[in-house]
């Protein structure tokens, strides 16, 4: 089944926040962000801006009717800066005017006197100064201290991975419309309707029931609209609450890039011990996470890094410690993989360094150490592993030995162009690691004409979750998909939702839809039994027919629904689902946090132009653990998109902050995401369909985040190609592998390559 939105998408009829017809009298907001990364606000000059034609009011922290606080996990993030600014772009004031142009023009007239304070951009520096968001956490398995003495080889090193801009094509947006009794209806492009509702409720000082957050769909999210959507909801809600006028704010791309957090950069020290047969004996890592200026979701992301410290491998003795370091960058946040990809990059770096030092191919070490069913993860859960199944299937299906020979013979004949190949096994845990979030609800109405409406807490952002919800309802009720419609995601219909995140939305909400539909179907069968003078057991609903002992009756779906209504039996159900069996004890750092893991292996090949340092990603060929896909078209799209996003993170996407904490890659002309020509010529995906039972909806495993991590293999394939040209290249482990890094690795230069703040960036916002 195709994505149910695709007809509207291709005709331009799909509605996003900026497309909602305006309510008369709508005002437009724009935030004034701090021009410096850290400092004390001495004076805010608002008079010129306030006098700008069309300006209705300028809000500062003093206007906040509730609490000036939007921190989700930790209350450490003011909505509007009070006396101190902590990052460049931190909102200080919110202008509301009669037009968008007037609001922006007024923002440009705001001036602020700030006494600068020292700026930290490096997480290791923050750690050295004791600037931690939360206390560090350590996961342990076995006895690493004792294990080192048993290692034949000990590898020590460092790996760095940069952040990543989400670059959802629809920028952050929110639109608040006053309703009676001091209520507000807020349209938002948020992955977390409830978190946005809660943030606004706190800022306004009103109960949550006074606010509705309604999400039609997102023009992309990728984690960037999980907690980061809350500020904009709170700002428009504040203005609409005070003015009792509709207020809308759609961020300009440069505002969005400057003011919102991104994937966390990590800097990590690792130590890997192997025995003489190259089996892992011990692993230690210290992860320095660049959290930015406030917690946002950093503690949870740090936790997921620890959960994925050993990636797809089994290591019997582990000590992994993570530090969430407070710097003066915008608060970094969720991004597809949520700290997992960063951990995997470290493990693969350690393996590649071991391979180089020991003179073996990385894949030999990788394959020997893949986890098996029954192996214990450092957090206590036992693996139900498809790692080897995926790896060996990929080896056979794509003829790994042939591919390797092709690379070797090509490189032998080609002096200036080199190919590289690397394998990337993945293993990713599915569930919110905060156990309490693994719950969802669904509301299903069957109208008495037989049509069905489904509401869930899941937010549609392109991943096809609504399509899957519709499939669940149609399948459980055994009716045509045409009879089912999905509702927007509203906190009025579904309360207390978990964010659409962690790849878990289809599982959690799908199970809730399944429960709701099963309850309704059960009641329908009871009514059918009464109508047909039969026992319930003999009744079956199939393809909109009521079957008795497997044979058709005069009752069809529509007649049965009508009969049910006339018998005053409920045709609606609100169901609740909570993932069974998941638990985690943070005191012992042990438990069973994941419903299941998703596995896979990809073979990535690249070609490097060793004259220019440019490259192409030739192919990513994967065997991916689907469980049993309920929608292969949607799932394939998620995998292809994830792979390319992962390749982008590892290659061309380079976030550049200068030492003053100012974002230099602040536009689409300076921050490059993959385009049509930069994606692999071939992306092959072979499903590993398994019969193993799992907790996924219809055994169709979550597919949102895991494929991004196939992209990591690209980095190591590039490294291998570089080494083919220059075997003594000192190239380390520092992602992304931009053309600059490739060229400097091919031709090491005596002078260090340091990016200094120099040429002014494109500047038309007050934040610059």
């Amino acid at each position: 089944m195709k994505n149910i939105d695709s007809g509207n998408h291709t005709t331009g009829r799909s509605i996003y926040v900026d497309d909602i017809p305006l309510v008369a009298g709508t005002l437009f907001g724009a935030a004034f962000g701090s021009p410096v990364a850290h400092g004390h606000i001495e004076h805010l000059h608002l008079a010129d801006a306030a006098a700008h034609p069309g300006v209705v009011r300028i809000f500062t922290y003093q206007d906040i009717t509730g609490e000036n606080q939007i921190g989700g996990i930790i209350p450490d993030e003011p909505l509007l800066a009070e006396h101190v600014v902590d990052f460049c772009g931190m909102p200080i004031a919110f202008v509301v005017a009669t037009s968008e142009a007037a609001a922006h023009a007024a923002v440009r007239k705001i001036k602020v006197d700030i006494t600068p304070l020292p700026v930290i951009t490096d997480p290791r520096e923050a750690h050295a100064q004791g600037e931690l968001i939360v206390p560090p956490r350590t996961f342990r398995l076995g006895d690493p201290d004792a294990a080192w003495s048993q290692c034949a080889h000990i590898i020590e090193g460092r790996a760095d991975s940069n952040g990543q801009e989400h670059l959802y094509i629809e920028t952050q947006a929110a639109y608040a419309i006053p309703e009676e009794n001091e209520g507000l209806k807020i349209y938002s492009s948020t992955q977390s309707p409830t978190a946005s509702q809660r943030a606004a409720s706190r800022v306004l000082g009103v109960p949550m029931h006074q606010l509705e957050v309604d999400v039609i769909r997102l023009g992309g999210g990728f984690g960037g609209k999980e907690d980061q959507a809350n500020a904009w909801v709170a700002l428009v809600a504040l203005a609409a609450h005070i003015l009792r006028k509709p207020v809308k704010y759609v961020l300009h791309r440069m505002e969005d890039m400057a003011m919102t957090g991104k994937r966390h950069p990590y800097s990590t020290d690792f130590r890997l011990g192997l025995d003489k047969d190259l089996k892992f004996v011990a692993f230690e890592a210290d992860y320095y996470q660049n959290a930015g200026a406030a917690a946002d979701l950093s503690p949870a992301i740090m936790e997921r890094t620890l959960f994925h410290a050993t990636s797809t491998y089994f290591v019997p003795n582990v000590r992994a410690t993570a530090y969430s370091c407070r710097t003066h960058l915008p608060p970094n946040t969720a991004f597809r993989g949520f700290g997992g990809p960063q951990a995997k990059f470290v493990m693969e770096s350690a393996i590649n360094q071991a391979a180089e030092q020991l003179g073996v191919e990385a894949e030999v070490i990788q394959k020997k150490n893949l986890n098996k069913t029954g192996d214990e993860f450092p957090y206590g859960q036992k693996a139900v592993s498809e790692a080897r199944a995926c790896w060996t299937r990929a080896e056979e299906l794509y003829n790994l030995e042939t591919l390797k020979k092709e690379v070797a013979s090509f490189n032998a004949q080609s002096p200036m162009v080199k190919k590289g190949l690397a394998l990337m096994p993945i293993c990713f845990g599915i569930s919110f690691t905060n156990t309490s979030m693994n719950q969802a609800r669904a509301l299903v109405h069957v109208y008495y004409d037989g049509s069905v409406k489904v509401s869930t807490g899941a937010v549609e952002m392109g991943q096809g979750v609504n399509t899957k919800m519709l499939q669940v309802a149609a399948r459980v009720l055994s009716i045509s998909p045409d009879k089912v419609r999905l509702q927007t995601t509203s906190t009025n219909r579904i309360a207390n939702t978990s964010p659409t995140a962690a790849s878990a939305a289809a599982d959690l909400n799908g199970k809730a839809v399944q429960l709701a539909c099963e309850a309704i179907a059960g009641r329908l069968r009871e009514v059918a039994a009464l109508e047909l003078n039969a026992t319930v057991d003999a009744i079956e609903l199939k393809n909109e027919q009521v079957l008795l002992h497997g044979k058709p009756t005069e009752l069809d779906w529509k007649k049965l629904v009508t009969a049910t209504f006339l018998r005053r039996v409920s045709l609606s159900e609100h169901a609740h689902y909570a993932t069974p069996d998941v638990h985690f004890d943070k005191r012992t750092e042990k438990g069973h946090p994941f419903a299941y893991h998703v596995y896979g292996t990809s073979i990535n090949t690249v070609t490097v132009d060793c004259l220019r340092g440019t490259y192409t990603v030739d192919a990513v060929r994967a065997v991916h653990d689907y469980g049993q896909s309920m929608n292969p078209a949607v799932d394939r799209g998620q995998i292809e998109g994830g792979i390319v996003q992962g390749i982008g993170w590892m290659t061309m996407e380079e976030l550049l902050y200068d030492k003053t904490g100012r974002l230099r890659s602040n536009t689409l002309s300076t921050y490059k995401v993959p385009d049509l020509y930069s994606v692999p010529a071939e992306i092959a995906i072979e499903p590993l369909q398994t019969d193993t039972d799992n907790l996924a909806i219809f055994r169709s495993k979550a597919v949102g985040e895991p494929p991004l991590m196939y992209g990591i293999g690209t980095y190591f394939a590039l490294r291998n190609a570089i080494k083919a040209f220059n075997p003594t290249s000192p190239v380390g482990f520092d992602a992304p592998m931009t053309p600059e890094k490739v060229l400097l690795a091919l031709y090491p230069q005596p002078t260090p390559a340091v990016t200094e703040p120099h040429e002014p960036s494109l500047s038309r916002l007050a934040t610059h």
């Binding site: 195709k2 939105d5 007809g7 509207n8 998408h9 291709t10 331009g12 996003y16 900026d18 017809p21 989400h166 959802y168 094509i169 629809e170 920028t171 023009g219 992309g220 990728f222 300009h252 791309r253 002096p415 200036m416 392109g462 096809g464 060793c610 004259l611 220019r612 340092g613 440019t614 078209a633 394939r636 799209g637 292809e640 998109g641 994830g642 792979i643 061309m652 380079e654 550049l656 890659s665 536009t667 689409l668 002309s669 300076t670 385009d675 049509l676 930069s678 994606v679 992306i683 931009t738 053309p739 600059e740 060229l743 390559a753 340091v754 200094e756 120099h758 960036s761 494109l762 038309r764």
Partner: protein, 471 residues
């Protein structure tokens, strides 16, 4: 007042000529299928088609409406996604749906419009042209493979077109609505496209606008209201012609106009392969060659190419004309040897003789639709193994786009050897002064320019030993 046809409807507006087509479409006309992604021409979510009469043909090209002033669509046909919708899905939309080429949907109308542009273009529907049609569109969800498959299907729809006029063909085949067949006639009833001003006399204009692709990025807010003079529709400044052995490019000719001109196709075929490295299809459709020069970016691709080709500019201030070599235009960072009143009326250059070789090198973070870290062009001639003429230019290595006179002179008259090239690279290092910025560190840019200079020689003289050259 600006008049044009918007989809199937004649419209007129009193908005300033400098107001953006995107805002007009979305907020005046409430046609919300055209999306806002970046407002700098880098994502393609706002792509529309612009049809205009050219000779006896109606020629459609894709534009990013975020950088298109209303002045530039006077007398033309503006097509948004709403203008190609018909009963059910059209075959382009169906191909996108069938291939699951849409996920969040925000970029999708832009891709569909670009593919509609493919259907309306006179290019042969080859796979290369199909992909080139969407090279200005960014998608963050799909990873493009499904969109590629859809694009190839759309190209397949055009396989039988042969010599039929594209607008008539798509109407006949119900690929696009029937009204497209009648647009050519309807445009004749509108005032012709011509130079426009923002409501003030041209003499008082403070800003001259060509395609707008840079000005609307750099000074978005001012451009809408300021007094502007718009050149793009000035028919007197269009055209690419041959004068003896010189090629003359009009001051309002776009990059696409130039690349697709008979003069370039016949007399400078070496240029064509490099076109793909210069921005994207819609930006090339909008941007003028002269605009690239005046913008004075140190890394303008066309500027670098024409510095090597030693182009001459004709500047006109409305009263008198003078000529100036492009190599003398740049006095310092964004400082030009011309008055504010002077516009580039024409650009001329000596077409490379058959024995003369041309090459262009560019490296950027992303190979396509990106601004160079360093770029370089060269014109080289050799007699046997002796270099007889050489001209090198380099961008991204100084405050202005640079011609490299010392490097160029150094190699002339010398035998072409690997050692000579290495020495030339060393000479070039004395001519440049790169800085570290978002596009690369100084160290990198110095190294890279050397590699690109070597790249010129390796591309033009493949017998050279590459390994020896880079050792």
């Amino acid at each position: 007042m600006i008049q044009f046809i918007l989809n199937n409807r004649e419209v007129s507006t009193d908005l300033p000529a400098g107001a953006l087509l995107l805002d007009y479409i979305r907020y005046d006309q409430r046609l919300t299928g055209t999306k806002i992604g970046c407002r700098e021409g880098d994502c393609g979510a706002c792509t529309v088609l612009i049809g205009e009469p050219q000779q006896d043909q109606l020629r459609y090209r894709s534009f990013t409406s975020c950088l298109t002033p209303l002045a530039n669509v006077q007398g033309k046909h503006v097509v948004t996604i709403e203008g190609i919708n018909q009963e059910g899905l059209n075959p382009i939309q169906q191909a996108m749906v069938d291939e699951s080429a849409t996920q969040c949907g925000f970029c999708t109308p832009g891709f569909v419009m670009s593919l509609a542009g493919l259907c309306l273009s006179h290019h042969a529907p080859t796979p290369q042209h199909a992909l080139a049609a969407i090279d200005g569109n960014i998608c963050r969800c799909t990873g493009y493979k499904s969109i590629e498959r859809a694009a190839l299907r759309v190209a397949g729809l055009l396989a039988d077109r042969q010599d039929t006029d594209p607008a008539e063909f798509v109407a006949q085949q119900q690929i696009l609505p029937e009204y497209f067949a009648g647009i050519k006639a309807r445009l004749q009833n509108l005032p012709a496209p011509n130079g426009h001003s923002n409501g003030q006399a041209a003499a008082q204009a403070i800003q001259t606008v060509g395609g707008g692709t840079d000005l609307y990025v750099q000074k978005h807010a001012e451009m809408v209201e300021s007094a502007n003079r718009f050149l793009l529709n000035n028919t007197g400044l269009k055209g690419i012609t041959l004068e003896g052995t010189r090629c003359v490019i009009g001051g309002a000719a776009t990059v696409t106009d130039m690349a697709e001109s008979d003069v370039f196709k016949s007399h400078f075929p070496a240029f064509r392969p490099f076109l793909k490295l210069v921005s994207s299809t819609p930006i090339r459709n909008m941007a003028t060659v002269a605009g690239n020069f005046v913008n004075a970016s140190p890394i303008g691709d066309l500027t670098i190419i024409f510095l090597a080709l030693d182009a001459t500019l004709t500047l006109n201030d409305g009263v008198s004309s003078r000529t100036l070599p492009l190599r003398q235009l740049y006095q310092g960072y964004k400082t030009l040897a011309k008055t504010a009143d002077e516009t580039i009326a024409r650009i001329s250059f000596e077409l490379p003789a058959p024995a003369t070789r041309f090459n262009f090198e560019k490296v950027s973070k992303r190979t396509h639709l990106d601004i160079a870290s360093v770029n370089s062009a060269c014109v080289l001639a050799a007699d046997g193994h002796v270099v007889t003429a050489a001209s090198f230019s380099a961008g991204g290595v100084g405050p202005v786009p640079m011609y490299l006179p010392k490097t160029s002179a150094f190699v002339v008259g010398k035998p072409l050897t690997e050692a000579l090239i290495q020495q030339a690279v060393a000479v070039a290092q004395t001519e440049i002064s790169p800085i570290s910025d978002a596009r690369g560190t100084e160290t990198y840019k110095r190294l890279l320019l050397g590699q690109l200079l070597k790249g010129h020689f390796l591309a033009l003289f493949p017998h050279l030993n590459a390994l020896e050259l880079v050792s």
